[in-house]
């Protein structure tokens, strides 16, 4: 039976059996699965695992399988962004994080499904079909890193990497009952991450326990001169794995527990905050008054970035090429056939927002709102160590329920996007169940203060049992 395994459990199993057997049991589970979490499998995974059976190694992830969101470049393994545009694309190079994972001994087992080019919140806009939520396959896993979260929940991968532009690791972690963190902007090199909104996105670790998030961060974070926004900073994340939150100050932003929240989710989140209080933390309500405006500002900026970033898919150097009698017609036809509806909508709106006459009205206005959102957080962090609230206002919705109404899916990101505008770190950690579906607690930290988040999340996890429950058929 598939099972949830931490990095520690996985290494223990490798010692008792072999890296080859552990990897091959994951590949079997993926093969038999019907949740469609993967786009491609690494054909060399078994060969890579055998190396660690032949060669003793004390590398931090020696022989440990990991799945990778399909927008992170993996040399020799197809990287499709779940788009027809890149269906046959095989990167000739590794992303910075992939180099780091190989150096740490990890085995890439495969690439995980996602909303096309990471634009979506349900993992339904994929050229290879929807990923289903392992807790209830009539529901979505969240998104856009839905394949990664579903793979963890279904026991198809012990750890994973996703990316988060406006909640894309936290939304699926919340809906699938696993842990994920979006680090401070600049912490993890974006070199080799196929860009959607370069001013907002970060690669983020995903796992079934908080400690693994810290271990993955220790492997993949750090300066890289191939990403001009990479920051020089030396942090040991595992040092923050402390089961003690005595005296920590928690702010609860009233705007994150808003009118639209499912009352069952609201109660579970308050229970979590009171649990932290029992464990020695102190909390108070705080206000982030600009939160309401963060969502429209976020979408204007993300769409504007997207219209520029996705200009590279023009049928010339890689990806699909459709015939046309001149270059412009070829490019227009290629992009018409290669992109799905949501990607087209975002490129068109981004093009409009940046075009002459509208640039100040939309784009510059959104950048100013971004300043206000950041000021809100700066004010709040004068008084508290972390902020807490629901990751998502509701449990996972049904497959197909929102896909015809793009705005209704945008709205689900409402608690997540302020963090990306401000560039600060945030984590989602399981905190209970409503109608048998997982609920995530969002813990937000100040710039470069992932350590406070990890400490809070670890203390909460170690003193509660929410993370011990599994979907049916998973150990």
């Amino acid at each position: 039976m598939p099972e949830w395994m931490s990095i520690r459990d996985t290494k223990h199993k490798i010692d008792n059996l072999s890296a080859e057997e552990v990897t091959s049991s994951y590949l079997d589970t993926i093969e038999k699965s019907s949740i469609n979490a993967f786009t491609n499998i690494n054909k060399k995974a078994i060969e890579d695992a055998k190396y660690y059976d032949k060669n003793q190694s004390d590398l931090p992830l020696a022989g440990v399988p990991i799945s990778i969101k399909d927008n992170i470049s993996t040399k020799g393994i197809p990287t499709t962004c779940s788009s027809r545009m890149l269906e046959n694309y095989i990167p000739p190079f590794n992303a910075h994080v992939i180099e780091k994972l190989y150096e740490a001994g990890a085995i890439i087992i495969g690439k995980t499904n996602m909303d096309e080019f990471a634009m979506g919140g349900s993992t339904e806009t994929c050229c290879g079909g929807t990923t289903f939520n392992p807790w209830d396959t009539s529901r979505v896993p969240g998104g856009s890193s839905g394949g990664s979260a579903a793979a963890l929940a279904a026991g198809e991968s012990p750890i994973s990497l996703g990316s988060d532009t406006g909640g894309s690791v936290r939304s699926p972690a919340s809906y699938c009952g696993v842990v994920a963190m979006k680090p401070t902007y600049g912490t993890i090199s974006r070199y080799g991450l196929i860009s959607y909104s370069n001013s907002l996105e970060q690669i983020g670790p995903m796992a079934t326990c908080v400690e693994d998030i810290a271990h993955i961060m220790d492997v993949i974070a750090g300066y890289d001169n191939r990403d001009s926004t990479s920051i020089k900073r030396d942090i040991n994340y595992s040092d923050a794995i402390i089961n003690d939150s005595e005296g920590m100050k928690i702010g609860v932003p009233t705007e994150l527990i808003s009118d639209g929240i499912n009352p069952k989710v609201e109660k579970i989140v308050w229970d979590a905050i009171h649990k932290m209080e029992d464990l020695g933390a102190i909390w108070k309500e705080v206000s982030l008054p600009t939160t309401k405006y963060a969502l429209p500002a976020y979408y204007i900026l993300a769409m504007s970035d997207a219209s520029s970033n996705l200009a590279r898919f023009d049928g010339t150097r890689y990806g699909l090429q459709v015939e046309g009698n001149n270059w412009h017609v070829m490019a227009s036809k290629t992009r018409a056939q290669g992109f799905g509806d949501e990607v087209k909508r975002r490129i068109l709106l981004g093009t409009y927002a940046l075009s002459a006459g509208y640039h100040d009205k939309y784009y510059v206005k959104a950048l100013k709102v971004r300043t206000l959102v950041k000021n809100d957080f700066d004010r709040a962090f004068n008084d508290v160590d972390v902020l807490m609230g629901p990751t998502m206002a509701d449990i996972a919705f049904k497959v197909g329920e929102k896909i015809e109404d793009p705005l209704s899916i945008y709205m689900t990101d409402i608690n997540n996007v302020p963090v990306n505008l401000a560039g600060i770190p945030s984590m989602s950690v399981p905190c209970g169940f409503a109608d048998k579906m997982p609920v995530g607690l969002q813990i937000i930290g100040n710039t470069f203060d992932e350590s406070s988040i990890l400490r809070c999340a670890y203390t909460f996890e170690q003193n509660t049992n929410h993370h011990k429950k599994r979907p049916d058929g998973v150990n």
């Binding site: 000739p92 010339t316 699909l320 001149n326 206005k365 793009p406």
Partner: protein, 93 residues
């Protein structure tokens, strides 16, 4: 307010061919999203500086050293249409 003519103009700027039978549908969808964006008008931002980037990095430079890069073969291997070691595209003019 985006008109059907606007959709055609934007789709040309973005180089995404839109079938003219779909221009109306796109105009409606884009307008409903733009309506939602309008609420930003409620905020007075006249004295606020825009935030282009959250970090304080300015002029990130590196030394201009020659480093190993792709061979011509590697650079071309994902291209569907090539000739004599070049990317091949239809005429631009």
């Amino acid at each position: 307010m985006i008109t059907e003519e606007d959709v055609e103009r934007i789709s040309w700027l973005a180089r995404i061919e839109i079938d003219s039978s779909k221009s109306k549908e796109y105009a409606e969808q884009l307008n409903s999203i733009l309506d939602y964006f309008q609420q930003l008008e409620e905020l007075d931002t006249s004295d606020i500086e825009p935030t282009y980037h959250v970090d304080d990095l300015v002029n990130v430079l590196r030394s201009d050293d020659i480093k190993p890069s792709f061979t011509q073969e590697e650079a071309l291997e994902n291209c569907e249409n090539k000739k004599d070691g070049y990317f091949k595209v239809p005429g631009i003019m």
